[in-house]
């Protein structure tokens, strides 16, 4: 039934895409992406206004209207043949096939960040019908966590019950819509252009994100993290402009507004894209010797792009300041700086004013990584930069279209500048935001950098695909690009066994998650939903705690430890472990007892006990923790004895 409901969401999206394709001048292959961006914005805004569910109903009613309007025999509309192009057809077929496949495969979340935010937030939104910022959960949400991708998952499961695969399918359908934009210039039946275009998009995440061990192969195309959609939306915002002969900016504006609501770094990327597109639009107008009013309109549209980015970005800041207690003025971290202060301080250090050793070390390390680390399947990031520039240069050289030559040049030069700025910005976050243990090793460097490169490369591919329309000599770009993509596919084929991807993996990839879910369901069966549960998993680094928080929501898993140490961790008597042991909660038995009751917890879920826990706290339990000897167990507070009584074993052990 969930599959049917997800297909209903896809059909609703089709209504708006058809409307755009028939009643506007937008080429049909660009319509699904534009419609999806509008959908994400609609639900994000509705979430911020607190009317998510009513807005959803309105959306589906409007979608029905869009279907009618698309075919109504009134007014001007594009002929049906305009829809019969490879990309548009392929999108709906592939999106429906993906939903069917995921409904059967049932992929699941698997990474830390999916449990600490992306997945948990998706579950909260579906379960509560509201955004997640004020959800009762064991930790504070961070202001940087934005809602566009979360509500995308919500849209694909507006009807029916919550399922992880529906969230994951939503993300992939966004990616499919992005890849479809690349086919915008492929005429009807020109599979020699459409197939390599779609394949190029599909292969990009494999090429860029896997090799630096940033992403598990099984998680690619089965992940609710934001990085890949973020990067590709950035590229898509430019691709929809370059691949539309009318050079309309409004689809890009939709994409940039969405980008700003996908993640906080999306704002920086959106500004770069807005800069490139504005400069391009203005240069085109000047080069075509457009009259002053047209140049004025172009300037206004360019300003509108920046305004859209600003409004979108600030809307979330404003929403948080009203709806949440999170501090949205500073970017957090070790220096507690505001965004502007961070950039100004960084620029000063860059030119040598008050330059610290930390700044020099981190920036030096980043440049070294850029040049030498094997971070992508094609080599260091610098190779990707070179490849992107090469594609843009190729588009310049092999087209007869003068405007495209200029556009590709502007794209290459400004894109490089944007990359430098983005690179510097990420460097600043390492210098001023991250803890030393993160910044010293440049932890996550690849993950922060690859979104820009993904998007930039996608947009460069769009320029090459546009060059095919007026290539010189005829057939060269089409053939060259097809061979190039075939080569990329061969590289991916050689480096990534199919059985390690979500499309070829077995149930084993999700077996552990299913076991965890089963345990969580057993706990939920014996604990009332309004009770708070104290969580014990000795030796946990927080991952189990996040995982069970997700699995058990809306049941409340307590923060379960000393503040500042994170959830989960190891409970032991003071002195039992060295003081600097990570995630060590040194409590006496009385302190732990008081902590549990003070936090309002009337149940304890002991997922994993050990000798340290038994030696320190057996006296708090009426059975002396004998119930834990067989594995995980649940205990309930008995006010009469002031002890915790054994409730049951969970997880099939006894």
């Amino acid at each position: 039934m969930e599959l049917f409901f997800s297909l209903v969401s896809l059909a609703a999206l089709a209504g708006f895409a058809l409307l755009l394709a028939r009643r506007t001048t937008l080429p049909a292959p660009l319509a699904p992406f534009a419609a999806l961006c509008a959908t994400m914005l609609w639900f994000a805004v509705a979430g911020m206004l607190g009317v998510l569910v009513p807005a959803g109903w309105v959306y589906f009613v409007l979608a029905a209207g869009a279907w009618v309007l698309s075919f109504a025999p009134v007014g001007h509309k594009a002929p049906l043949s305009a829809l019969n192009v490879p990309g548009f057809t392929a999108f709906w077929v592939l999106a429906a096939a993906l939903l069917v496949f995921f409904a059967w495969r049932q992929p699941m979340f698997s990474t830390w960040d999916e449990f600490s935010f992306w997945g948990t937030a998706a579950k909260i939104v579906k379960t509560s019908g509201n955004l997640y910022v004020n959800a009762e959960i064991g930790w504070d949400w961070v202001g940087s966590h934005r809602p566009a991708l979360i509500v995308l998952g919500y849209f694909f499961q507006f009807f029916g019950s919550y399922a992880e695969w529906r969230v994951l399918a939503g993300y992939d359908i966004l990616l499919l819509a992005l890849f479809t934009t690349l086919t915008a210039n492929a005429p009807k039946g020109a599979w020699r252009q459409a197939v390599p275009a779609l394949a190029f998009g599909f292969l990009l995440p494999f090429l860029i994100t896997l090799y630096g061990n940033v992403t598990r192969t099984t998680d690619l195309y089965a992940s609710s993290l934001s990085d890949i959609p973020l990067g590709l939306t950035f590229g898509g915002a430019m691709a929809v402009y370059y691949l539309n002969k009318r050079r309309a900016l409004w689809p890009s504006a939709l994409a940039l507004a969405t980008l700003c609501l996908e993640k906080d770094t999306g704002f920086a990327m959106a500004l770069v894209a807005a800069g490139i597109l504005s400069a391009d639009a203005l240069l085109c107008a000047l080069a075509e010797k457009a009259p002053a009013p047209v140049i004025g309109r172009t300037l206004a549209k360019a300003a509108g792009l920046f305004l859209t980015c600003g409004v979108s970005f600030l809307s979330w800041q404003r929403y948080l300041s009203v709806a949440s207690t999170a501090d949205t003025s500073n970017v957090g971290g070790t220096q507690q700086m505001g965004m502007a202060e961070m950039v100004i301080t960084g620029c000063k250090e860059l030119v040598g004013i008050g330059r610290t050793e930390k700044f020099s070390t981190i920036m030096g390390g980043m440049v070294k990584n850029l040049l030498s680390s094997t971070t992508t399947m094609v080599g260091p990031f610098i190779v990707v930069v070179a490849l992107t520039v090469a594609l843009a240069v190729g588009a310049t050289l092999f087209t007869r279209e003068k405007a495209l030559r200029r556009q590709a040049g502007v794209f290459a030069v400004l894109g490089l500048g944007g990359f430098a700025a983005y690179f510097f910005f990420i460097g600043l976050t390492y210098v001023y935001v991250f803890r030393d243990e993160v910044s010293d090793g440049l932890v996550g460097f690849e993950r922060y950098m690859y979104p820009y490169l993904l998007g930039w490369l996608l947009a460069a591919g769009a320029l090459v695909l546009r060059a095919m329309a007026e290539e010189r000599p005829a057939g060269l770009v089409q053939t060259g690009f097809a061979v190039f993509v075939l080569g990329l596919a061969g590289l991916v084929w050689l480096r990534v066994p199919f059985t390690l991807t979500v499309f070829g993996c077995g149930d084993a990839a999700y077996a552990q998650r299913r076991e965890t879910r089963s345990v969580a369901e057993e706990v939920q069966a014996v604990v009332p939903q309004d009770a708070h549960i104290f969580f014990v998993s000795q030796g946990d680094d927080g991952s189990q705690w996040f995982l069970y928080t997700y699995e058990m929501y809306p049941w409340y898993l307590d923060y379960s430890g000393t503040s500042g140490m994170g959830g989960g961790g190891t409970f032991a008597l003071p002195g039992a472990l060295p003081e600097d042991t990570l995630y060590y909660h040194p409590y006496t038995a009385q302190e732990l007892h008081d902590c549990i009751l003070k936090n309002g917890c009337t149940y304890i879920f002991i997922e994993k006990s050990d000798d340290l826990f038994a030696q320190g706290y057996a006296s708090l339990f009426s059975d002396g923790l004998a119930g834990c000897e067989g594995g995980a167990a649940v205990y309930g507070y008995n006010a009469g004895t002031d002890q915790f009584d054994f409730v049951c074993h969970v997880g099939g052990t006894a």
Partner: protein, 200 residues
């Protein structure tokens, strides 16, 4: 005839996917027929192998005689005097933990020659291998402490498969079915483009 060729030319993608489907049906029927012939001629036969008679790695008997995984990489090795087409195992261990590796004699296990198990009924795990699998390795679980069966636990090799199983793609066959027609359509279209261009 010209009209038909013209129609095919205009619907390259549809044509190739229909062709792939037809090839797949023929291939599946061919495999079913080949197996039936194998059973008729004695090349294939159903046999039951006790775990105690198989080379095992990281699988031991506990004090009750149960077969239990005891290390990080438990394996059952099968090198028989007949090709292996299927393995059925009655076990309470989760089917999701089972995976099979196949190859010719002497070939090392490879992630590119891997199949996943299916649960055919409660407590029944089935692994289906492609035609030509000489040696087979079965990894029954990814961790230690998993009880595979009682002391007399046994595998059934080459139990006849229902016909529909032959139509279920194994591993990369599914990928080939999904992707190759599209690639061929692109190549066909590119070829047609160059033929037209060179004729001019």
């Amino acid at each position: 005839m010209k009209e038909k060729i013209s129609w095919l030319n205009r619907h390259k993608m549809l044509t190739l996917y229909l062709l792939a489907l037809a090839v797949w049906v023929l291939y599946a029927l061919g495999c079913a027929g080949w197996d039936a012939l194998g059973f008729a001629t004695g090349r294939l036969h159903t046999e039951t192998l006790a775990l105690a008679d198989l080379p095992l790695q990281d699988i031991v008997q506990d004090e009750d005689g149960n077969w239990v995984t005891a290390g990080g990489d438990p394996q059952l090795q099968l090198a028989l005097d007949q090709p292996v087409r299927s393995v059925t195992f009655g076990t309470d261990a989760p089917a999701s933990g089972f995976e099979g590796y196949y190859g010719k004699s002497g070939q090392d296990a490879s992630l590119r020659r891997r199949v996943w198990a299916a649960e055919t009924a409660a407590g029944q795990v089935l692994l289906v291998f492609p035609v030509g699998s000489g040696t087979v390795r079965i990894d029954p679980a990814g961790s230690e402490g998993v009880v595979l069966g009682a002391a007399d636990a046994a595998l059934t090799v080459n139990a006849p498969l229902p016909l529909w199983r032959y139509f279920q793609p194994l591993g990369e066959q599914g990928l080939a079915l999904a992707v190759l027609p599209a690639v061929l359509a692109a190549l066909w279209d590119l070829g047609a483009f160059w033929v037209t261009r060179l004729r001019r």
